[in-house]
């Protein structure tokens, strides 16, 4: 496909859509939902096939109120639309009056506070149709890069944008790309890390399910910039819908000549294959992931050498997270200056967060870096339901920490979060209220790390197990003050001597709760009380006596 053909397809699609006076955008992340099918049947029945067009889209926001229907051009949102509402919906299209009982006022309000870059246009793209992505300007950044820009110019653009890796550590993306581009090697690889495994995090899954092509385009641009011709997406097998849509997306892109040989009729070849993870959290660690792709046991190896130098099959390998790749096409399309204008000085762009736990509106939000944590939880998340009191927010999964109410006003960027003992991580946020026991939360994350430690290095393998047992003792009311000393010592050993990031950061949830909620530990140990009444201390104590 040439750039002209792509442009023609884009206008053709746009013109076809303009034929319809009414558009219904239906969003339901439940793959079993038949609302769109029902709507189409009804259109046929009413003989309105030429006036109403139904689009199934993957993402609109406000997942809790799905299925959501947006009526265009009126820009009216309806929530929790069921089969019984279809008649009313069509009547309102005829009369021009909106249906009050279904009106969704929350979503437009929530969208006002957001800035969509990664999720942009996802509310009008059917993830199963490459034409929808192309109609929204998709693959144009790639075509322009292939025909008008040198790989060095693409590298420069990404470097200038200030984009940092969205997988957790926040390594400057441009720097990483430059390292791979400069590395010596005949064959190079581009790998997309879609092994999202933090409890309560589902950003990457939604990005892949809602708009797989944006990630493919990002990988293509990366391949062009660093000189690779083969890409892999390592995705966990627990995401069947994302896998299905990715497979379809790859096939469609191949069919249109956007993947494969001589892309854009220039001398650029690139192919993408999927590799499925088998359920190991540690395979999200880059060296373990590369080992797993190569068919070995998924255990990390010491770095250096970094994958940029010696990665997949010892070839220079660029490995980025899903959300990082999803940022590439918008940067190339709108320019690095546009991107660098969003966010803070050291954290550019936007970040997608997955809100979970005790918050009114769970689901995905995308905000510029640097917004106050309070706004994310209380404006976008709608605050804590049932008139409960906010207690803490856990960010960054098992590698992150719990941030208490007194730090709610910090700005959400890589550096501010690190200052309060947490990390940005991949973007999971679990919100907790007074019904959560912080010792129990620390125990949950330690149990997770204990189970997911690969078992290779001693500090992580034995340390997580020892810490889990100590936390179990404390939550059973059998802890002592010496146990707190032991915990702190074990945290220190693990942070300083573990082989990979999993072990080095596994103590973080524990350390941050010890720092901000030490009184809860003391209540368990000294008073034999669980302030949140989560731990069944008295039952254990009765059984003992």
């Amino acid at each position: 496909m040439t750039p002209e053909e792509l442009h023609d397809l884009c206008t053709q699609e746009q013109e076809a859509a303009e034929q319809y006076p009414h558009h219904l955008y239906v969003c339901s992340s439940d793959p079993k939902s038949i609302l769109a099918k029902d709507l189409r049947q009804e259109i046929k029945k009413r003989d309105k096939e030429k006036t109403i067009c139904v689009h199934e889209v993957g993402f609109m926001g406000l997942g809790a109120e799905e299925p959501i229907v947006r009526v265009e051009p009126q820009q009216v949102y309806y929530q929790r639309v069921g089969a019984e509402d279809i008649d009313a919906l069509f009547d309102s299209l005829d009369s021009g009056k909106s249906i009050e009982r279904l009106a969704c006022e929350t979503l437009p309000e929530l969208l006002k506070h957001q800035r969509l870059v990664v999720l942009d246009k996802n509310d009008r793209i059917n993830p199963n149709r490459i034409e929808d992505y192309i109609a929204c300007g998709g693959y144009q950044a790639l075509m322009r890069a292939l025909t008008e820009q040198s790989p060095a110019q693409v590298l420069e653009e990404i470097t200038q944008s200030g984009l940092r890796g969205r997988g957790g550590a926040g390594f400057p993306t441009g720097l990483k790309w430059n390292l791979v581009a400069k590395a010596q090697g005949e064959k190079k690889y581009v790998v997309c890390n879609a092994d999202e495994g933090d409890p309560g995090a589902f950003m990457d899954r939604m990005i892949l399910e809602c708009n797989p092509h944006r990630v493919l385009e990002g990988m293509l641009l990366a391949g062009y910039a660093v000189g690779a011709s083969q890409g892999y997406i390592y995705i966990r097998a627990e995401y069947p819908l994302a896998i299905k849509r990715l497979r379809l997306a790859i096939k469609q892109a191949q069919r249109l000549g956007l993947l494969g040989h001589r892309i854009g009729e220039v001398g650029f070849d690139f192919n993408i294959e999927l590799r499925l993870g088998a359920g190991a959290f540690v395979c999200g660690e880059e060296t373990a992931l590369l080992g797993s792709i190569a068919g070995r046991r998924g255990t990390p190896r010491p770095r250096p050498p970094y994958p940029a130098e010696r990665g997949l099959w010892n070839a220079p390998t660029l490995i980025n997270n899903v959300e990082t790749f999803a940022n590439i096409a918008p940067i190339m399309k709108h320019g690095s200056a546009w991107f660098a204008n969003i966010g803070t000085e050291k954290s550019k762009g936007t970040k997608v967060f997955a809100l979970a736990g005790r918050v009114t509106y769970t689901g995905l939000v995308e905000v510029p870096m640097g917004v106050p944590l309070r706004d994310i939880i209380f404006k976008l998340g709608g605050g804590i339901p049932n008139h409960c009191e906010f207690k803490a927010v856990q960010t960054g999964g098992p590698s992150g920490g719990c941030i208490p109410a007194e730090h709610l006003d910090i700005s959400v960027d890589y550096d501010s979060l690190a200052q309060v003992g947490s990390i940005m991580g991949s973007g999971g946020m679990i919100i907790m209220d007074e019904t959560s026991c912080m010792v129990d939360v620390a125990k949950f994350f330690m149990a997770f790390c204990c189970e997911e430690s690969c078992g290779k290095c001693i500090p992580c393998r034995v340390g997580t197990s020892q810490m889990y047992h100590i936390l179990q003792r404390i939550t059973n009311g059998q802890g002592t003050l010496y146990d707190l000393e032991l915990l702190e010592e074990l945290c220190d050993v693990m942070q300083n001597t573990s082989l990979c990031g999993l072990g080095q950061t596994a103590p973080n949830p524990l350390l941050s709760t010890l720092r901000f909620f030490r009184h809860e530990y003391l209540a368990h140990i000294l008073d034999k009380q669980c302030p949140a009444k989560v731990c069944k201390i008295h039952k254990v104590m009765e059984a003992v006596s």
Binding site: A280, V282, R297, R301, P302, P304, C450, E451, E452, S453, C454, G455, K456, C457, I458, P459, C460, R461, V462, G463, T464, S465, Q466, H469, L486, E489, V493, N496, T497, S498, L499
Partner: protein
């Protein structure tokens, strides 16, 4: 590799000025110069995995501790192999290892010949202040000549590497994760039923503890010979 393409660098290890080829590891250079760095998973002749974390060293200008067995030397590097900070961590790591499984020396075939025991003595680990986890693990004596006692295994991975890299059989591997990790033969079959095991016994002789031993040995009788490993590696290289 072209011999002239390797540079010689100068570095300091424990304040001693040394020179070495730039492709050597800190561990190799230190040991060549009679500076000992403790290791359990590393063995001359096998690839290094950096798993046991006992060879961690401090390098001036680098905040993280790095494993000497896989970190190559660099020009002007200043390495410290035995600072109080490192000694502290090494002792704790050994203690964690002792707390993990059953390492009661008095009833072990390798008593007196054991690398774990010897290291504990050298580093002054005289007690373990973590609770013993000590799960009950099986002993597989199905092989006619050898025994694997999982209770003594420290998961250093030497047996798996020797079997794969030297013998080429890849009978040994690991299964499970975290604290549940075990060494296995074939697809976790009894050793005696293994169809790939050649019975060469290299795994037994590279094992640092009493986890792998020859049958018929009683307490303290299992003497291991590991010094043939570098020789075998060299021979393999010359043949290929």
């Amino acid at each position: 590799m072209n011999a002239t393409s390797v540079r010689i660098v100068t570095l300091k290890i424990d304040d001693r000025e040394l020179s070495a080829r730039e492709d050597r590891t800190i561990l190799e250079v230190a040991r060549e110069n009679q500076l000992d760095i403790p290791t359990l998973c590393h063995l001359d002749g096998l690839s290094s995995s950096g798993a046991c974390r006992l060879c961690l060293v401090e390098i001036t200008g680098i905040r993280r501790l790095l494993p000497a067995c896989v970190t190559t030397v660099g020009e002007g590097m200043e390495v410290y192999t035995n600072t109080p900070r490192i000694q502290h961590y090494r002792k704790l790591i050994l203690e964690l290892l002792f707390s993990e499984r059953n390492h009661v020396c008095s009833v072990c075939v390798s008593n007196g010949q054991c690398e774990l025991q010897e290291l504990a003595r050298k580093l002054g680990v005289d007690h373990v202040h973590y609770p013993y986890l000590m799960p009950e693990l099986p002993v597989d004596a199905s092989n006619p000549r050898f025994v694997v006692d999982h209770n003594r295994c420290i998961l250093c991975g030497r047996c798996t590497r020797a079997c794969d890299e030297i013998e080429g059989a890849h009978t040994w591997d690991m299964r499970g994760r975290g604290i549940e990790t075990r060494v296995i033969t074939d697809f976790s079959d009894p050793w005696g039923a293994s169809s790939t095991c050649t019975g060469c016994g290299k795994c037994v002789h590279v094992c640092p503890t009493g986890a792998l031993s020859e049958k018929g040995r009683s307490v303290a009788e299992m003497v291991k010979h590991k010094h043939f490993m570098p020789y075998l590696t060299l021979m393999r290289k010359e043949q290929s």
